[in-house]
Amino acid sequence: MTLGLFVLIAWVMIIIFFLIPKSLDWKENMIMFFSLSIIIISLSTVLDLNLKLIQTSKKVEMFVPVWLFRNIIIPLIFIVFLNLFNFSKNKLKKIGIAALTIAGVFLIEKVTLITGIIKHTGWNQYYTLLTIITLMTFSFFFAKLVNRIGKGAK
């Protein structure tokens, strides 16, 4: 059931990504996806393996859900955020998009906790919130830099 659920969530995230209006072009989206994934995967390994603040399930049947959660779902949430945030001109909408992104990550995290994919062993929701805000800020400024690099090359 967990596998099916996470395949469904990953599928929904991919569909959402393809359907939303995009403020970044394909090259910029690729660069952002690769960069965010590199950071998210490294961060999750440090929190699990080194600091043991989060314990990821070591069961073989949980391997694919963990893989989808870490490599597809979470990076795509931030990519969707970035595209919608930059696309929107209204400040209130921007705040709403940021709030929805935070709520989305919390919701997915809750699902991972309920299904036993991850277990908090010293980690808490405030750390999650801090991590989300840091990643949102990083992705926002890095996307601007990537955009500038692209314009400079033209």
Partner: protein
């Protein structure tokens, strides 16, 4: 329990720094053939896949190998993945420079997979990778064969006019 292989600054660190430096210098110095963003994509593609594969099969439940001095994830491990970046950039760069025809693509991929495997063998010998639980070099060879294909697909996707 974490495994500590060594705690000295020795051959594995030197190998990573040397390859990283040579790779970045090469990427920097060769005449530009791609727009900056496209070059970034080729570079990051490999770093991304390196991290995805390593952080999938080198941790539990598989735990097939450790990278560098211990089974923990260290800064040097993170830097190791950036070695792959310049390697992938040069893979596409040479492909574009030589204007290789589609019928020779399998040979080109095979040559690069063999070169990558040889470099990995050297890295194993120097203590960058420590195989565990029955992992063997030819598993890496098959991963390289797999990785180099979408890399070229990405190149053709970004340069549709170059599909000769």
């Amino acid at each position: 329990m974490p495994i500590i292989y060594d705690q000295e600054f020795n051959q594995n660190e030197l190998f990573v720094f040397a390859l990283l430096l040579i790779g970045i210098l090469l990427v920097w110095k060769v005449p530009k053939r791609f727009p900056a963003q496209e070059g970034m994509i080729y570079f990051l593609y490999s770093v991304f896949f390196g991290i995805v594969f390593d952080h999938s099969i080198s941790i539990e439940p598989f735990d097939y190998y450790d990278v560098n001095d211990s089974s923990y994830y260290q800064i040097l491990d993170f830097m190791t993945y950036f070695m792959y970046g310049s390697f992938a950039y040069l893979y596409i760069y040479i492909f574009d420079y030589l204007k290789i025809r589609l019928k020779y693509v399998p040979v080109y991929i095979l040559i690069w997979a063999l070169i990558s495997t040889a470099i990995e063998l050297l890295a194993v010998h120097l203590g960058v990778f420590h195989y565990k639980n029955g992992y063997m070099i030819y598993y890496s060879f098959s991963i390289y064969l797999l990785i180099f294909v979408p890399n070229l697909c990405l190149y053709f996707y970004l340069n549709p006019k170059k599909q000769n």
